[in-house]
Amino acid sequence: MMARLTAGVSGRSWVLIAALLLALIAVPFFANDYLLTVLILILYLAYTGQAWNIMMGFAGQLSLGHAIYVGLGAYTAAALYVHFGIAPWIGLLAAVPVAMACGAIIGFLAFRFGVAGVYFAILTIAFAEFARIGFDHISYTGGSAGLFLPVTQYTQNDLWNLRGRPIMFYYVILALTVAAFLFCHALLRSRIGYFWFAIREDEVAARALGIDTFRYKMAAVVISAGMTAVAGVFFAFYYNNLFPEQVFHISRSIELILAPIIGGIGTLFGPAIGAFVLTGLSETMTEVLHRFGFEFPGAKQVFYGVCLLIVVVALPDGIWPWLMRRLGLERRT
């Protein structure tokens, strides 16, 4: 297993990866709380981007409604905690299967009935919107008034109940992101990864080669949904409040897929680099506009949109493939 994971990675890449990981582990000793929250956001988006990338980047199924899995994960774990005091790590055992079941339903309906391409993308939006409006009317989870997790001033970090200071959340999301990275790396090196690539490039040809495309597309949706639900649980316990209008909103789904698309779809480092660039850009812009006293609602987002536009037009494959060429890290053949 280890041999398979490390095969074909150049020495130069090893040094860079090790340095990056050490830097990320050491950061909290130097960073203030503001920088830490920014890094948490970056890692959160890198993680969710990685999860979405399994579906779109690997298996070629464009989902524009991933907020539904974040929301289901968040609401399941939060409701269990609020109503029964069940710790999030146990709540995960319910949240992940719920999201996986939802992914399985969407995938089954779409792939069985031959809903593909743009239609599939819009079907996923429809399910997410359905859930958004539905949760607005479920009083058990607070409806549109929101679900709140109890918050008190914590003097120590309670890792079991995920109650504590940003530094704890930082290490939790860092661990999740690294785990997701390794998991995706392993997936890509396994049979299923090659099957997915075959389906992504040409589904008819893949089927002709004897690949059970339905089964592997389902696997992609279910794995991606389950991974995204874990991020949902983190979201719930980090932000402590959940509103259907925010959690399930289409803008959440878009926010979640920007990082992998900007970073480079179907690549392992794409989601992380995209999350870093986009969040960094957004925070820098807030800071710059604040300096110049130019604080009108929407100003930041306009610049953000323009930057997005420039990246999409200039780098069609995303930032990572371009950066890899620059750094001389192209895979040796």
Binding site: E129, D136, L309, V313
Partner: protein, 294 residues
């Protein structure tokens, strides 16, 4: 949960939903025309409509010009916007994968919403015409004048569009591009220019619909994404690429939302629209009037 109401209330709500649905249909028609020809899903459709709505409101508030008359110049402005968008930004993306096109239009949509937010602020704005509270009585049915005018205007614009695509040379050329891209190139059509024209026409539709909608609803910048979604629901229900389908889908969704708002709670009405969308996608993915893709 279901409330009991007298029959004529149902009729009134259904007619009101029908008229609003016609305007929705015109908006969705724009999306359908663009997708049918250019094969690009316009994820900035609702945002373009809010631009038209703000144009109508500014014209009304500063010059007291009626949105129903102003819809002609507004459609013209939106045509220019659509033409420039397609010619400058989207044409180079025609051969790129779907997610790439999606990102491009999302970026455009983000810019549009937030420029509107910068210029007009987050407050809701509306148009108060002299006939805002007029109504007509047809037997037991009472119809708002604004909705009746808007619904009729939508039919007029849609008919003009049908005639354009059926009888004019440019309209026929555009349909040729949609039917057979290579064939259109072979007979010497300037496909890229026709794509720009098509996007312009689609944008003009949504511009006219936006001007009409200012009579019916208040406008805020975040309305854009909501109406983009609504346009998708309508177009897929009616059949992506089918022009009459878009109108029928609009009426169906408009009436469903109106009746669901009456029977259940108004905040849940969109749920029914999305439920219809899911059912249509599963059992008739080509839409009510759409043709099965080959």
């Amino acid at each position: 949960m279901v409330r009991s109401v007298p029959l004529d209330v149902y009729l009134n709500v259904a007619v009101s939903g029908l008229l609003t649905g016609l305007v929705y249909g015109l908006m969705a028609l724009g999306l359908s025309v663009i997708f049918g020809v250019v094969r690009v899903v316009n994820f900035a459709h609702g945002e373009m409509m809010t631009i038209a709505m703000y144009l109508a409101i500014v014209l009304f508030q500063t010059f007291k010009l009626d949105p129903l008359i102003m819809m002609v110049p507004i459609a013209g402005v939106l045509f220019a916007l659509g033409y420039v968008m397609q010619a400058g930004l989207i044409n180079p993306f025609i051969d790129r994968p779907e997610h790439s096109q999606f990102m491009l239009l999302v970026a455009i949509a983000i810019i549009m919403v937030n420029v509107l937010l910068l210029v007009f602020g987050p407050d809701a704005r509306s148009v108060q015409t002299s006939y805002a509270f007029d109504s007509f009585a047809f037997g037991p049915i009472i119809v708002d004048a604004t909705k009746l005018y808007a619904g009729c205007a939508a039919i007029v614009v849609a008919t003009a569009l049908f005639a354009f695509f059926r009888f004019s040379f440019v309209g026929k050329a555009i349909r040729a591009c949609a039917d057979n891209y290579t064939g259109a190139l072979v007979v010497g059509l300037n496909v890229k220019r026709l794509y720009s024209l098509t996007f312009g026409i689609g944008a003009a539709c949504v511009g006219a619909a936006g001007a009409m909608l200012t009579l019916i609803i208040d406008v805020t910048p975040p309305l854009g994404p909501q109406y983009t979604l609504l346009a998708f629901v309508i177009v897929i229900t009616g059949g992506l690429g089918s022009m009459p389908g878009a109108l029928i889908g609009g009426v169906l969704i408009g009436m469903t939302e109106a009746l669901a708002g009456l029977l259940f709670t108004p905040s849940a009405k969109s749920m029914f629209a999305f439920a219809i969308l899911v059912l249509v996608l599963l059992f008739r993915p080509q839409g009510i009037l759409g043709k099965r893709a080959a």
